[in-house]
Homo-oligomer: 332 residues x 2
Amino acid sequence: MKKILNSPDTFIKDMLTGLYKAHSDVYTYVNDDIHSLVKKNITPGKVGLATGGGSGHLPLFLGYVGDGMLDGCSIGEVFQSSSAEQMHEVTKAIDTGAGVLYIYGNYGGDRMNFDMAAEMADFEDDIKVNTVIGRDDVSSNHKENRRGVAGIFFVYKVAGAAAAEMLSLEEVTRLAQKAADNVATMGVALSPCTIPRVGHPSFELAEDEMEIGMGIHGEAGIRRGKLDTADRIVDEMLEPVLADMDLQEGDEVAVLMNGLGATPLEEQYVSYNRVHEVLSEKGIKIFKVYTGEYATSMEMAGMSISLFKLDAELKKYLCRPANTPFFTQLQL
Amino acid sequence: MKKILNSPDTFIKDMLTGLYKAHSDVYTYVNDDIHSLVKKNITPGKVGLATGGGSGHLPLFLGYVGDGMLDGCSIGEVFQSSSAEQMHEVTKAIDTGAGVLYIYGNYGGDRMNFDMAAEMADFEDDIKVNTVIGRDDVSSNHKENRRGVAGIFFVYKVAGAAAAEMLSLEEVTRLAQKAADNVATMGVALSPCTIPRVGHPSFELAEDEMEIGMGIHGEAGIRRGKLDTADRIVDEMLEPVLADMDLQEGDEVAVLMNGLGATPLEEQYVSYNRVHEVLSEKGIKIFKVYTGEYATSMEMAGMSISLFKLDAELKKYLCRPANTPFFTQLQL
């Protein structure tokens, strides 16, 4: 295991301690628990937006807490859900009377704990909590079972902008759900990552192999095979995304090219070149392209491609400015 | 070699073709040559700022072309200088009468070609060109021989802000040189990268080894040894940086934590935690922390730490907003 850390047992504690020092202008925590991160200067009367999940995916999830996006995040150990209590504490801290929306990925532990936290907030604190779940990974055939991956960025962005415009909990929830319903993602992995406390890679891929559709925790994908050319990898990734979205000529999308951790930006642009070709051939308009690392799996090599189908309403909220320690956008 | 590409021979062409498609609102090129990148909408009367260098370091170098930063960049093949002609074409395109400042790292090929381009611009086009060279890597003992690495980000930022305020070429040059004189960087490598056309890693490091002070092209560092704890790695990296800068209690710095390509943000924050401790113990104030990937070596694992010593003047320009496809900052 080749990582820059002090001890596998203090990895997340050391990481979070450094993070609060680096971004003390934006981040603080509640209940004396560094796993319950909240934004400083919560806007009174605004719908509170919370997310959460296991560590190891920076900038997911906490990186999107900031102006124009989220208000709080509960943080688990590497690839493990945070506790319902941690989520509950975040919920209390970010509610200013307008209610709270949970936005998180479709994983069993997260669902169980967020549901418990929502019940606690309702029964103990009379806080109304709604939930929108990210299920953008089209590598699973059954829509209800789909994992949430990088496409949740668009849900955060739209919901954050809607909340910043002081819309009601119902409206913010509707827009977040609409965003979630219009994003689809497919990934490819070239190499595994290592959970520090485990100490060895979570799976193996031969030197000439890739796995299309692998999840960000190393969940099985849809095909393992020889590493192919960038153009053919992109074609294979885009096919199920396009099939899922039923995009028509003249439709407009935003594209998210996401590195899983170890894949250089250079390779993302080689890949984007083909994405642009395929979409242009189909007459699909590209409104905005995001490249970089948005949802990683520590040092995993690979990438994901997300398409976000836009209409005038979603575009309006996508374009609104945002400013967090990990994502800054001026008004588009 | 495990990379997402079509062919080693078309790697940079495919990458740049994708990049121009993704960021067509900001980037274009001149002289029918995709290696001569310039910003759209150059501000008339503003000092033009150009950089350049080999590919494989994204977001270096072209990523800092945009509002409040640079105006043009000439782009070479992986780890190879661009040509003097390409630099000359960029120079002509970004000059609007106020002259041009070259800012680039201290590498032989780049120096030779930028010097030739400056002569061509002077003799053929009567364009006044000044030069500031990044030499921030303190792993070399002889200051004149030092390589330019991630710290050049601060030189770009200060020079870009000074030019955006419509200062003269002499003033922009003075401020860029002042920034360059006040930044120091040290790196550590944990694993090599592979140049596509070469097809095998440029060096080898055993599974339990690291190399302190290695350059971003794999240049030899100052010590190879067993991988140590994050805290001890940071201590060893900071020692020569602090010795070089002669920082006193009460001095103020900006910190740049830079991933070389494959090192997760989580490990950067574990490391930053120790940077903060060491600087705080010495009474050095931390004005602003930047984390992420600013100067990479494709899929190399490792990181660098840069300190940028601030005074009121440098801070003013550091704080100014900037907006490029790879770096956006609101007014601090």
